[in-house]
């Protein structure tokens, strides 16, 4: 386990092909190997690994989308009127990058600097997610989720309606479900083939993280005293089925979860600063960080599920082998 301390908040962590990358509230990016990039003028609000597997793409409150590599950094795009870039996603499959600023979703092509699509929403976009093949994009907003074709310039989105404020969005790994987190401490899902609604509630707190694992058969979320696991098996997904909870601890909340869809391990970061790893099919928790401290504010797992990185509210960060 390696730990470090930064004098700013760590707002996101991603793994690229080489290692962990920390994005900070002072606008800088710190690579696990010690490389440093300070291209933003303000806080980094969101980050995702570049589709090439080299480096990180960050969106900032300076309205800039920046690709940082260990050797250099460059601006990929800017938002209209410098609006905050709140959410970003990228697809290694299609090589596309999508980010939101205010009510606009923008799509870029990592291999074609001239490509840009801007899609307008009625409300501010809170989350952006590519479907697994990278050809469609889901956004979460007030009142539901919108589905866009990534490359088509003129289109009307399919709008998946559900009353309330949706704060984050994800696709199931097989591309058949879209799931959002909501302001009032619940999840909402749609089966895309018939837009059938899935209501997934019972959380004591807002859900900040959703992540699929075990070949897409489980959706893990934060927001409860344990990590909540929803079964996504068969055509009905979790409809009519119960969630399970692992690592229940009355004294803390699971603040964040991280996993990889093809692997069967789950990492959880707790409100009391601890971090654990578990195999939902097995027994027990493996504490990667057993010391209590400030709440965990960022958590990530490498693509091969062999490494986990975390950060807490006081700027402490660590990387451990799973």
């Amino acid at each position: 386990m390696r730990t470090s301390n930064f004098d700013a908040q760590i707002t996101a962590i991603v793994f690229d092909a080489e290692g962990a990358i920390f994005a900070l509230g002072d606008g800088s990016v710190r690579f696990e190997g010690g490389e440093f990039s300070a291209a933003h003028d303000g806080a980094i609000l969101c980050a995702v690994a570049h589709p090439s597997g080299d480096g990180v793409i960050t969106g900032g409150d300076d309205g800039r989308l920046i690709w940082h590599r260990r050797t250099d950094a460059g601006v990929l795009a800017t938002s209209a009127r410098g609006q905050w870039i709140d959410a970003v996603d990228a697809s290694a499959e299609s090589g596309l990058i999508a980010f939101s600023a205010g009510k606009i979703l923008t799509v870029l092509d990592a291999k074609d600097a001239g490509f840009r699509r801007d899609f307008q929403h009625e409300h501010t976009v809170s989350g952006v997610a590519f479907e697994p093949k990278g050809r469609r994009i889901a956004t979460s907003t007030y009142g539901g989720a919108a589905l866009w074709f990534a490359r088509i310039a003129e289109q009307r989105p399919t709008f998946l309606k559900w009353a309330g404020s949706h704060t984050a969005v994800t696709f199931s790994p097989d591309g058949t479900f879209v799931v959002t987190a909501m302001q009032d401490s619940q999840l909402h899902g749609w089966r895309l083939k018939d837009q059938k609604n899935l209501r997934m509630g019972g959380y004591p707190s807002k859900v900040r993280a959703m992540s699929f694992l075990s070949n897409g058969q489980l959706l893990a979320t934060s927001g409860a005293q344990g990590a909540v696991l929803w079964p996504f098996v068969g055509a009905n997904g979790p409809m009519g089925r119960e969630a399970t909870e692992i690592g229940f601890d009355e004294g803390s909340l699971v603040a964040l979860v991280a996993s990889q869809p093809k692997h069967g391990v789950l990492a959880a970061g707790l409100s009391d600063g601890r971090v654990w790893l578990a195999d939902p099919a097995g027994q027990g928790l493996n504490f990667l960080k057993a010391d209590r401290g400030a709440p965990i504010t960022a958590l990530a797992m490498s693509a091969d599920a062999t490494r986990v990185a975390w950060a807490d509210e006081d700027g402490n960060a660590g990387v451990a082998e799973a």
Binding site: A43, K103, H123, D314
Partner: protein, 357 residues
């Protein structure tokens, strides 16, 4: 890590002087840094390096409860701003939220009580309503939002007083006071208000609700019986007015009294109250009429309790706690003010008094 960041909300319609006031706050030599959330991003004329645009996106919660309505944009912007903060080296000391004249202050305030993330990091300090002495009467006549902003405020700044005469000011202040008997009115020209009358008021802080004086209900400037206190916010020699003359205006203002749909109702009782009965009454009142009650504050003398029970409410959101003990020579009495729409004063008074022990 750090203490909760205080948040001050500035309401007021276009032309009331909000931008001037904001710039005064931001440029005064106080050594503090402020983050400013404005309603229109890229708005010109605000002199600060941390200005963020919001959308006035009002989010109704899925449970359909109007009183849980929050401002989604504020949740998003506050979360983003907090990412700049770091232990020991804060990026800013306070947040100022500017709203448009069309904004409903309820959801703005409720955001700071309802959203768990916002609540964990920030604390609503106060709501200040800026009104323009020359146009406020017409605004109050034609705009529900203008009436609500005045009724909701912890402090009212009556700006541009140099553009109207004393008689008009008296009438304006009388009407503002009927809408909101809790908020001190500060007169200003070109928004020249001392900053300590806008920032750090603790309007929602139970520990600072020390004095509610419904019987005193200081008449407006120039009205007969007005007592100059620390809330006046002007030099007394500024307007050496004739009290007899003002007395006539007092009648004049009443004669043409504007009957607004919103008003403040002041209640008091000189006998101790039954704590259980009072709490049950207040809970039921807010449950049934919370949609119509914008603000409420009270200090209650509970039978058999040495400490005073202090409460404040925004619509249905109620906070109450036992605060400092009554002094040995202090007058022990209960008083409360409810500001809202279509409130039945007689019924409220009867309900309040029925809580006597």
């Amino acid at each position: 890590m750090t203490d909760k960041i205080p948040v001050t909300v500035l309401t007021g319609y276009l032309g009331a002087g909000k931008t001037t006031l904001l710039n005064r706050i931001l440029t005064e030599d106080h050594g503090k840094r402020y983050a400013v959330i404005v309603n229109e991003f890229g708005e010109i004329g605000i002199d600060n390096d941390l200005v963020v645009g919001a959308d006035e996106d009002v989010f109704e919660m899925n449970n359909g409860c109007v009183c849980c309505t929050v401002r989604g944009d504020l949740i998003r912007v506050v979360a983003g701003l907090m990412k700049r903060q770091r232990p020991g080296k804060p990026a800013f000391d306070a947040i100022i939220v500017e709203t448009t004249g069309l904004a409903d202050p309820g959801p703005v305030a409720q955001t700071f009580f309802v959203d768990e993330d916002v609540k964990a990091k920030t604390q609503l300090d106060s709501v200040t309503a800026l009104v323009d002495a020359k146009h406020v009467m017409a605004r109050l006549d034609d705009s529900k939002e203008a009436r609500e902003q005045v009724a909701f405020a912890d402090r009212i700044i009556l700006n541009k007083v140099d553009l109207v005469d004393e008689a008009e000011l008296v009438a304006v202040e009388a009407r503002l006071r009927r809408l909101n008997p809790l908020a001190p009115i500060t007169r200003a020209e070109r928004a020249n208000v001392p900053l300590d009358q806008v920032l750090g008021l603790g309007g929602f802080d139970l520990g600072r609700i020390l004095d509610i004086n419904p019987e005193f209900a200081n008449p407006a400037h120039g009205e007969h019986g007005h007592v100059h206190d620390e809330h006046c916010g002007h030099d007394h020699h500024d307007h050496d007015h004739d009290h007899d003359h003002a007395h006539d205006h007092h009648h004049g203002a009443r004669g043409h009294a504007h009957e607004d749909d919103i008003k403040g109702i002041s209640l008091s009782l000189d006998r101790p109250m039954d704590g259980t009965r009072f709490t049950a009454w207040l809970d039921r009142l807010l449950g049934e009429q919370g949609q119509n009650i914008l603000r409420a504050k009270g200090i209650i003398d509970v039978n058999g309790e040495d400490r005073r029970l202090v409460f404040q409410a925004v619509h249905m959101i109620l906070e109450g706690d036992l605060q400092k003990p009554w002094g040995a020579n202090e007058r022990r009495w209960s008083r409360a003010v409810f500001i809202g729409r279509e409130l039945d004063e007689a019924a409220l008074r009867a309900g309040f008094e029925a809580c006597a022990a």
